[in-house]
Symmetry: C2
Subunit: 318 residues, 2 copies
């Protein structure tokens, strides 16, 4: 399929929002809602790095958009639209059709418009980009820099499932549909994120490279010290059944990437509001640590003492 | 350089706008100016397709941003910021430093902020994406769909220089600094674009794939017929000296890509305002054709009759 046909046949039917101008103009034109600030994020995923060339293109499209919506969720934003940049090699029509179907699915599921983008073939291997645009009431966006001494540290959902799902996708572990799904089809925690500012949370970020490394990053940019209690790291039943018991298993879960859960710092008086919010969002919320004055980061093991950690999570490569 | 270092050492110093949050958060947070609509565009450039692996990385960065700002110019928008997505192979530090210097230069030159983005290494070859965000007074954005019967068709600047510059870059033509520069460092026609709605223009788009093919596209989406007079296609002195004389040379110029000039349809009563605007922008403006009722597109040669055209311009191909 030529680039023009990809747009005409596969993408235009998805781009129904008037801002997209039917993908027939140079740019999208959109009126943002009054009294809101915009939240803008752009993530790139690379074949062979963030996904496997053999993955279902529908799942790749889902993940491309979902990881960006997860960034919006972490800032408390409501998504409005995305622009998609596809640098493709020589995709066949079946690949393109599956990709477009996954794109349509993730956008409809999260009430998000396709505003525009660009499609090019002839790359040595695929590189896919997504810009997501959301909005939040003025002054209400969360930052990862706001954690304060005395805050509790919470995480949504369960941790480590996606890391186990990746092992399954690589053929290194026996099949489990739920774990694989957590790796392939992450769910941005939008409803939870949008309620955080109202509940009085001080800071939030999404957990993409691993709970430990992302918590260490929050500590650094907030200028505080964070302590995580390993025994409190929430595991799914499927993950608990696979991981070693005790500290070793929870360390593995908390240093695996791709969770796309929210990490939240909030004062003790926000606890009730946060629990109400998590119930409304039908999403588990677990206190996994706390914030202190000082600097640095530590992980407390079963014995109540700090555990040495050699690798906090996924560090982007050289 | 690791991805974290690329951000910290090379990109953070450029991202001085508060919306960028020092590139230390999950997303940028920006308050758009009141009473304006947003104009959003995303273009991808691919190593080996849109630029050569041996090109100066500073020029690559310039072109990545400039081609997106050109889309904003065509809609009449004032640029606000960009998000940059870099899917890189294994760039060395010198490449990255040159890229960052070109990025800083194009952004400062056009008063545009670096809002955010993402950097990943490990791609088979480089794919670079840019989302540009601009704004325009509500209801004042131009579209390529607005051309009407009776309009004159204008183009800014000169046509065909960048096509000759590409031949020089490929080593297929003798050196000429000015022509090479038109290929490598396109200049978005922002001031001109921002004045078009006020001057009463009906339609505008940027010329990226060739004057003829882009004019044919405007005719198609506007539901009109466009006629271009070859003898009126504006050439630079450097281009005129290289091209065949008469129809053949002007056909070559008008079917070469990468001009990044503006193609404008406007009623005769806008002529004076457009000329005033082009003088203020110190930019040549030439009437190259007109718009009629009907459909289709034709090119009039020196003899006053339509000239058969086998290839209108650069068609993106699979």
């Amino acid at each position: 399929m030529r680039e023009g046909e990809i747009i005409e046949r596969l993408l235009r039917p998805i781009a129904t929002h008037p801002a997209a101008r039917g993908l027939a103009d140079d740019a999208a034109v959109w009126s943002p809602p009054m009294g809101r600030e915009l939240v803008l994020t752009h993530d790139v995923i690379v074949e062979g790095v963030h996904y496997l060339g053999t993955d279902d293109p529908s799942d790749i499209a889902w993940k491309l958009v979902a990881v960006n919506l997860s960034d919006l969720a972490a800032k408390g934003a409501e998504p409005a639209g995305v622009l998609i940049g596809l640098g493709l090699a020589r995709p066949d029509d079946a690949w393109l059709e599956r990709f477009a179907s996954g794109l349509a699915r993730v956008l409809v599921e999260h009430g998000t418009a396709l505003f525009g983008g660009d499609t090019t073939t002839g790359a040595a291997s695929a590189v896919l980009g997504c810009t997501a645009i959301g909005h939040v009431p003025r002054g209400q966006s969360l930052s990862r820099t706001g954690a304060r001494a005395g805050d509790d540290l919470y995480v949504t959902g369960t941790i480590g499932d996606a890391g186990l799902g990746l092992a399954i996708a690589l053929g290194e572990a026996p099949h489990d549909a739920a774990l694989l799904r957590r790796y392939r089809l992450p769910v941005p925690r939008l409803a939870m994120g949008q309620g955080l500012a109202g509940a009085g949370a001080h800071a939030a970020m999404d957990v993409s490279d691993g709970l430990l490394i992302d918590a260490a990053r929050m500590a650094k940019v907030s200028g505080v010290r964070i302590e995580i209690t390993l025994a409190d790291v929430p595991l799914s039943e499927a993950a608990a059944a696979r991981l070693a018991s005790g500290d070793a298993g929870r360390l593995a879960a908390a240093s695996a990437g791709d969770d796309y859960e929210l990490l939240i710092a909030a004062p003790p008086e926000s606890r009730a509001a946060l629990l109400t919010l998590s119930e409304a969002a039908r999403l588990r919320l677990t206190r996994v640590g706390h914030v202190e004055a000082g600097e640095g980061f530590s992980v407390i093991g079963e014995g109540g003492a700090p555990v040495p950690v050699s690798r906090l999570g996924y560090e982007h490569g050289a």
